[in-house]
Point group: C2
Chain length 228, copies 2
DNA sequence: ACCTGAACACCGTTCAAGT
DNA sequence: ACCTGAACACCGTTCAAGT
């Protein structure tokens, strides 16, 4: 193993090396000791730049989310929504071993929050009120999380394709399952991601259209704000 | 700590004790040594009943999913869909520390697969073709996974509410985020789960209606007119 | 002031030795 | 045949001692 360059250790270098280690050898291989070795340093030196291992995992999440390229702000809301979703898919597949962390830990830095703001903005611009915006935000985020958890698990070969038909499945007790078995096994993740997005964009459009047909009723419009 | 009963150790007792330990003290506290201690036995004795710790975690997932009560088969498809979703939410909140495992590991036993079969059956009965059934299946599963990951994280106090506004958020750079901050913090998970379900049921209904309005086209078969 | 060796309190798992 | 003590190869983290 060639000694790592003697550049001074920084938080950025630590996170970069951690991401590389996780990408190459999986999350289980990411130990403080191994990470130190990859940087040509003792494990204990890492604690100068990172408070703890959980904190390092949070930094990993922020780093990956920061790789998302935002859409130009002047395109239609549905293109912005699709853009963010596809970018999330892109960076997730670039770091499939890390994805379970993305699904589990919440980012706090502005860079990691920016894609979420873009998504919220797209939904608001679709014509949803605040409550509907939040609701559809959760639906999109939740759907993407679940879909990508399945796809990244398949990519790492770890947890099977998130739904595989056991060989000894009782076809009489599980008729639909048995019928769809082939379709499940042959699932084209890329196409399914696009079609799932179609379903959700259509749902947003339907909600917005319905709202437009209704007499306008803002959130809290009935209540009067107390004077500041 | 009272010595556990001297009943003979079985796989079932091991899984039960593991679930109780994870529920009470969190997943991090579930070590083979501690689990052995809870059963009044040495850690190494567990390996007689369970091949490894990852295998034990899989058994934990199966146990929790088996707690789902299936709907009666004779109710409408949308009630069956809602029933399964609400049951998944119920058992998830009964074991919030275990939920990250549910989102990450795929069940294989018939008992754990039964709720999925019910969900697939409901979608097929809604009038979707095979491809659409699978697509909406993923949408529902993905959405529920994401929503419950957020809710269980909030319940364990672990990862914040999956979306919290940092105190120092730049309101100018994150206008929608800042506007929705209060609504996010006050989110009523139970109501939001129901409304998210409404969105997805409506999406299924729309797809089914659209299909019905289309000239019938079976999977891989051109429509053939029955002789008049 | 920075880095680190040794140490502490743990892990999952193996296996030879006990009963 | 079953159980287990000791051991192996690791963990994350602390801290006093070195430079």
């Amino acid at each position: 193993m060639p000694a790592a360059e003697r550049r001074p250790l920084t938080r950025e270098r630590v996170v970069t090396a951690a991401l590389r280690l996780a990408d190459r050898r999986g999350l289980d291989a990411l130990s403080m000791r191994r990470l130190g070795a990859a940087l040509g340093v003792e494990a204990m030196s890492l604690y100068k730049h990172v408070p703890s291992k959980p904190a390092l995992l949070d930094l990993l999440v922020e780093r990956v989310l920061a790789e998302i390229v935002l859409p130009p702000p002047d395109v239609t809301w549905d293109r912005r929504l699709r853009h963010v979703a596809h970018e999330l898919r892109r960076v997730s597949l670039a770091h499939p071993h890390v994805f379970p962390l993305l699904a589990t830990r919440v980012p706090a830095s502005p860079q990691a929050l920016a894609p979420l703001e873009t998504l919220l903005g797209a939904l608001a611009d679709a014509g949803l009120d605040d409550g509907e915006t939040l609701r559809h935000f959760w639906t999109v985020i939740g759907w993407a999380t679940g879909a990508l958890l399945a796809e990244t698990a398949a990519a790492t070969g770890a947890g099977a394709a998130s739904l595989s038909i056991p060989a000894d499945l009782d076809a009489a007790a599980f008729p639909v399952f048995a019928r769809l078995g082939a379709a499940i096994a042959a699932c084209d993740f890329a196409e399914e991601f696009g079609r799932g997005l179609d379903v959700l964009v259509a749902a947003v459009r339907a909600a917005a259209t319905k709202r437009q047909a209704r007499p306008a009723r803002g959130v809290g419009a009935r209540r009067r704000r107390p004077p500041a």
